[in-house]
Amino acid sequence: MAETQRTTGELARAVEALLSERTGGEVKVRELVPLFGGACQDNYKLELSISRGELQGDRRMVLRSDAVQSLPSSLNRQDEFHVIRAAVRAGVRTPDAHWLCEGLVRPGAGAYFMDWVEGEALGRRVVKHPELAAAREKLPEELAAELAKVHTVTRASAPELGLDRAPTRQGAAAAALAHARALSQAMREPHPAVELALRWLSDHVPAGEEETLVHGDFRTGNFMVTPAGLSAVLDWEFARFGDPMEDVGWLCVRDWRFGQNQLPAGGLATRPRFYDAYARASGRAVLPAKVHWWEVMGNVRWAVGSVGQGERYLSGEESDLELIAIARRAVEMEYEALRLIEKGA
């Protein structure tokens, strides 16, 4: 793959050519630095000088390109671009995306440019850092408001969103269950706890669903915070159409509390405070039993997912120590799923 990838110098020239054409003016790349991205993207930080158009001026942006590897069920950059555009139109506080293109970083790879946003995203700092204490006072309401805006996007309001890879006619819960079951059957070691949890999930599929855009990874660690409060919702690569309660349940998954168990909603709010804030912002009642189901499901997904991270290392395709370490944490999510089942909604 290395021989087909441009050097940063070549990439800078290619960016200048592309953006000059798109803006009808002159675009200079003053700096281009590779960023440590996720498993599915190849990211660069850019300092641009743009001579024309609505983005005229000196701007810092991120270039996000498809990476060689991608996680199953994650969106490519093209789908992600359209999700971000739909979210921005819905008023979600998220960095806007520009200039969708193909083949910029490597042949066939989709890419786009995203506004740069300042803030802290690291979960343990967001829930604990003294400098963010004032921000934490209002984060629950701010997060609830942003999530409610995400959930105003529907298939009817954003027909351009393809996101139909998983069959959803059966409903979001049934589809999630089928997906989790398929992943559990592909695990190389037997996991009785995952089976127990799947059994319970299958016996308790919630009735009655709504369908909206869901962020799919709305949790502490995936939004940026400054001392002034929430600055941006990030990481749209798991967005899909589903039940809005899925996002509420995922935010409450224990691992995203970073030790703050007394504040189940992302380590930032009690359940009543977050549920009420979301209900007020969305006009939609939060059903604790439904959130509970999705929270159990979230723990199962993350348990199976963390085992899968280890497999990415063990298969030889990747060599990051963090991946193999995450696999050892699967027991935490397995235990939490069974604890939630025992405790009840």
Binding site: F36, P192, E195, Q262, R271, V331, E334, Y335, K343
Partner: protein, 125 residues
Amino acid sequence: MLERPDEPALLEALAKFLLADLHPAVKDKKLAFRVLIAANIAGTLATQLRTQDERRAAELSRLRALLGAGPERSLRELNAALVEKLRSGGLAAEELEKISAHVKQTLQEALSVVNPSFDTSVEIE
């Protein structure tokens, strides 16, 4: 010939070196985080090795009782059999309760190795 220092002692020495000597000297944040991960793996492995025989024996005897199995089947085989049993459905509530208690017990024992600070009480919120 390699009994002293034994494996847990070596792993603990490794964890201590990574945490106390190497970590403070690493300026790169991403790399420093991975040094912490390495120290954690080495440290938890030391506990894992020290408690392995006891934990395995306890898990094995519970699984044998649950599945009515003889001593010839391995831990992995028994866990695979338990998974099959759960997938096949049609379990009485009482049996499911017993399986559930065993699985939680096994997870608690694993957690005491991998993350001893993990709170396993039912009410944590």
